[in-house]
Structure formats: structure tokens, C-alpha cells
């Protein structure tokens, strides 16, 4: 489950990164640069309202860009982690049921946490933040469980 799930998550993350780099990233970077420059230029002409509007669009574009890059790298990184752990999961010294639950929490958390971050670019409400936090908490607590399982293991 972890090996296949992790590989699929990595491929998904890479494909999303490729799509983003090809179709959106250059335009977003252009927006970031031009809106900040225009904001300063408007101020130099003492058009302070236009300056503020451009600064807001700069902040929005930065907010989106940081999260899109985070989403891409976290999906891939977590995918690689899942595959690595999947191969040695038999060394996690717990019963079969608990190991299955840990693996499930890792997989769901790894998929959901970046999804919540991506959702933040569409909705600034609490929903996306809660989803991202739940995903991150699932991954972190499951990883803590895995670490305990490795420490308990006797070779």
C-alpha cells in the first residue's frame, strides 16, 4: 500500500509540478514582478490608490506562488518517504492491525495535507487550513509511531 501509494503520489506531484511550470508559473512570476514594479511606479507618480491595488495583487500572487510550489514539493517528498518506509515497514515492531493503521494514516495525511495547502489558494477561509492541519497531524503522529516502532525493533 505504501510503496504503490507513495509512487503514485510522487508521480502525481511531479505531473502537477510539470503542469504548473509549463502553464502557470511563468505567468505568476510575471505578475509578481510587474505588480510590485507598477506599485512603486504608481507611487512615484503619486497615484497612491493605484499603488495599493498593485501591491495587493503582488501579495496575492506571492501567496499563491508560495503555496503552489509547496504543494508540488510536499507531494513528491512525502511520496518518496512513503515508498522508503513501505519497503521496511515489516521492521516496525507493532501488531499487524496497528501497522496497517499507521500506514493508512501516513498515506491519507500525505495526500490530504498538500491538498489543503492547494485549497488555500482558492479559499482563504478556515476549511483549507483545518484540512492541511489534519493532514499534517496525521503524517506527523504516524511518523512518530513508526519511529517508536523502529526503536522497539530487536534485530
Amino acid at each position: 500500500m505504501l510503496v504503490i501509494g507513495g509512487l503514485l503520489l510522487s508521480i502525481w506531484g511531479m505531473s502537477y509540478g510539470l503542469y504548473y511550470a509549463l502553464l502557470i508559473e511563468h505567468q505568476t512570476l510575471e505578475t509578481i514582478g510587474s505588480s510590485l514594479a507598477t506599485s512603486f511606479a504608481s507611487a512615484s507618480q503619486r497615484k497612491m490608490d493605484a499603488s495599493r491595488v498593485n501591491l495587493e495583487s503582488y501579495a496575492l500572487a506571492c501567496f499563491d506562488y508560495a503555496r503552489q510550489v509547496d504543494v508540488h514539493s510536499h507531494w513528491i517528498g512525502l511520496g518518496i518517504l512513503l515508498v522508503s518506509l513501505g519497503v521496511i515497514f515489516n521492521r516496525v515492531s507493532f501488531g499487524e492491525r496497528l501497522r496497517f493503521l499507521l500506514a493508512l494514516a501516513l498515506l491519507i495525511g500525505s495526500a490530504v495535507f498538500p491538498l489543503g495547502v492547494m485549497w488555500q489558494t482558492m479559499d482563504r477561509g478556515p476549511g483549507p487550513r483545518v484540512l492541511a492541519s489534519v493532514g499534517a497531524a496525521l503524517v506527523t503522529s504516524a511518523l512518530a509511531g513508526v519511529a517508536i516502532g523502529f526503536v522497539r525493533a530487536r534485530e
Binding site: 509540478g17 514594479a37 507618480q45 497612491m48 522508503s84 515489516n90 497531524a137 511518523l143
Partner: protein
């Protein structure tokens, strides 16, 4: 050490084929990671701080142009800032992608026993992967120098297209492994990675790596919960203040805010760098645990290099975080941590190559 040597020789006979896909992935992966890290160190020493200083100077000039009511000079200064940011961004991207593809290569080496395919097909997939894994970071590095002059569109140059093609090759290679993995699921159970042989070094790397990743997750969660939104708000507020003070021709206040902007950028950068480096080193430790049976070194040396690797993996991110408080001293210690990791990786690469030479001699 003598006994360890004999153990290594016995293992070498049961592990990697001399020129198989696994070996290609391991050697390619370690080289990608080592090259990516050396490049990152050189970038940090020779470009990063100088670049930040130039960006700050250009920002001050832009603020001066606002005060002087000169919009065309504002655009000139921002064009220069754009160039400096592209220079920094493409180098960071090249560094990050080379290292991440190195991890992926080690990971693919690890799952080879689970891929039910002819060895020739697996080797071809490995070559496609490694071609893409080299092409992407090299092309990303070249984006700043090639530009968009002869590119098919105004915002897309040939270096970007080559980088995207490299990424596509990596995706194709990863997708090509999936049918083999699925076919294997229907077959007999896989043997454990690394020939099932466990070693003390690999156990330490496994536990140490998991704890490093956990520390990185906790730091990332803390940063996202308590600092991220605050930093984003401060970023916009400082820029607004620079603009307002410049327009009011209060250059002393504008200059102070530009300095604050630089300090904030530094604070964000060290937090993100510490978070990503500690997790990456943890992941690398886990991946290196798997290839230990293929590293032809005595147990003593193996334990030594494992210790060096884990020490460097903890020193680098901790002292990157301390850079804001301790300044250059922390930077130097962090760089030393990076050098420890690179040296340990080099030693393990030598071990993998020694095993290949030994197998080649035996085959002849």
C-alpha cells in the same frame, strides 16, 4: 575490521549485479546528491549573500526613484531585481532538483526487487531516468544565462523547455516502473531490500533518519502555525511602508524599512532551508540504510561514516537556523556540516564502486 571485511566480501557476492539497473541508480543517485550539495555549498558561499546585498541596494534605488518621481527608473531598478531573483531562484531550483532526483534514484534502486521486468528494460528505464535527472537541473541552471532570446515565446526560453523535457523523462521513467510493480504484486512475495542482510550501520541510519524527519515535520508545523502568516503580513506591510515613506520623501524611514525587508527575507529563508534540509537528510539516511549491504567497507569504517553523516545532517540545519543570531560563525559551522555529509556520501560511493570492481574481477 578484518572480520568486517570478510563479511563485506560475502555480502558482495549476494548483492548487486556489476552493471544492473540497481547499480546505475545507486551510483547515479549518490553522484546527483553529492553534486547538488557541492553546488549548493558553492552557491551559498559565493552567490547567495552577495545577491541579497545587491537586491537590497536595488530596492533602495527603487525607493529613491519613487521619491524623485521617476517611474522609468523604478522599472529599470525592478528589471535589475528581477534578474537577481531569477539568478538566485534558478540556482536554488537546480540545487534542490539535483538532490531530490538523487533521492528518487536511490529509491528506485531500492524498489528494483519489486519490479517484475526484464533486466534490460529496467536498465533502459534507469538510463531514461538518469538522463532526465541530469537534464532538468543543468537546464534550470542555464535559464538565467540563456534567457528567452531565441525561445519560441516571449516568456519561455529553450533552457526552460529542456528543463521541462527532463522532468517529463523522469515522469515517464517513474510511470514505466508501475506496471512492473503491479505485476509483481500478483507474483511471489519480494525479497527484502538489500538482500535481507541487516547491519548495525543501517539500523542507526534508519532510526536516525526517521527521527531527523520527525524533527523536520515538527519544525515545519510550528513555522506554518506561528510564523508563516505573520511573515506574509509583515512582507506586505513593510513594502507598503517603503512605498509610503518614499512617496513622502522620507528616505531615512524608507531605508530602514528596506533593511527590515532584507532581514525578514533572511528569516523566512533560514526557516525554510532548515526545515527542508533536516527532512531531506533524514530521508537520505533511510535510503542509505538500504544500500549499506552494497557498500564494500569494513564494519568499523561503515559505522564511522554513518556517524559522520548523521552528525553533519544535524549540524547543518541547526546552525542554518542559528544564522540569524550568530551570523557568520553559524554559517561557517553549517557549511562544515554540509561538508561532513558530502564526505560521508563520497566514502559510501567509494564503497559501492569497490564492490563493482570486485564483482567485475570475479566475473572475469
Amino acid at each position: 575490521m578484518q572480520a568486517g571485511n570478510q563479511t563485506s566480501r560475502r555480502d558482495a557476492e549476494t548483492s548487486l549485479p556489476p552493471r544492473g539497473a540497481e547499480r546505475l541508480y545507486i551510483i547515479g543517485g549518490i553522484l546527483l546528491i553529492a553534486c547538488g550539495m557541492i553546488f549548493g555549498d558553492l552557491f551559498a558561499v559565493f552567490t547567495l549573500h552577495q545577491n541579497a546585498g545587491r537586491i537590497e541596494a536595488e530596492m533602495l534605488s527603487a525607493a529613491g526613484a519613487v521619491a524623485a518621481q521617476d517611474p522609468s527608473e523604478v522599472f529599470n531598478r525592478f528589471a535589475a531585481i528581477g534578474g537577481l531573483l531569477e539568478n538566485r531562484g534558478t540556482k536554488v531550483d537546480a540545487h534542490v532538483h539535483a538532490i531530490n532526483f538523487g533521492y528518487l534514484a536511490l529509491l528506485f534502486a531500492l524498489i528494483q526487487p519489486y519490479v517484475a521486468m526484464a533486466s534490460r528494460a529496467r536498465k533502459q528505464i534507469a538510463l531514461v531516468f538518469l538522463t532526465g535527472a541530469v537534464m532538468l537541473p543543468v537546464s534550470v541552471f542555464l535559464i538565467h544565462y540563456v534567457g528567452t532570446k531565441y525561445g519560441p515565446t516571449e516568456i519561455l526560453g529553450w533552457a526552460s523547455i529542456a528543463a521541462d523535457f527532463g522532468g517529463l523523462l523522469v515522469i515517464i521513467a517513474a510511470l514505466s516502473l508501475l506496471p512492473g510493480l503491479l505485476r509483481h504484486l500478483r507474483g511471489p512475495k519480494p525479497i527484502e531490500a538489500g538482500g535481507g542482510k541487516r547491519r548495525d550501520g543501517s539500523r542507526v541510519l534508519l532510526a536516525g533518519g526517521t527521527l531527523l524527519i520527525l524533527a523536520g515535520f515538527l519544525h515545519g508545523a510550528y513555522y506554518a502555525a506561528f510564523n508563516l502568516a505573520d511573515h506574509e503580513e509583515k512582507d506586505a506591510a513593510i513594502l507598503r511602508s517603503i512605498i509610503d515613506n518614499s512617496a513622502a520623501e522620507n528616505m531615512a524611514a524608507a531605508t530602514r524599512e528596506v533593511r527590515n525587508y532584507g532581514a525578514l527575507a533572511g528569516e523566512k529563508a533560514v526557516n525554510i532551508a532548515a526545515h527542508s534540509h533536516i527532512i531531506e537528510f533524514g530521508l537520505l539516511a533511510i535510503l542509505l540504510a538500504f544500500i549499506q549491504p552494497n557498500v564494500r567497507l569494513s564494519e568499523g569504517w561503515r559505522r564511522w561514516w554513518t556517524g559522520v553523516f548523521l552528525a553533519g545532517s544535524a549540524i547543518l540545519p541547526v546552525f542554518v537556523l542559528l544564522e540569524l543570531r550568530l551570523g557568520t560563525v553559524a554559517s561557517i559551522i553549517a557549511d562544515c556540516g554540509g561538508a561532513l555529509v558530502i564526505t560521508a556520501l563520497g566514502a559510501m560511493l567509494v564503497g559501492v564502486l569497490r564492490q563493482g570492481v570486485s564483482r567485475g574481477v570475479k566475473a572475469r
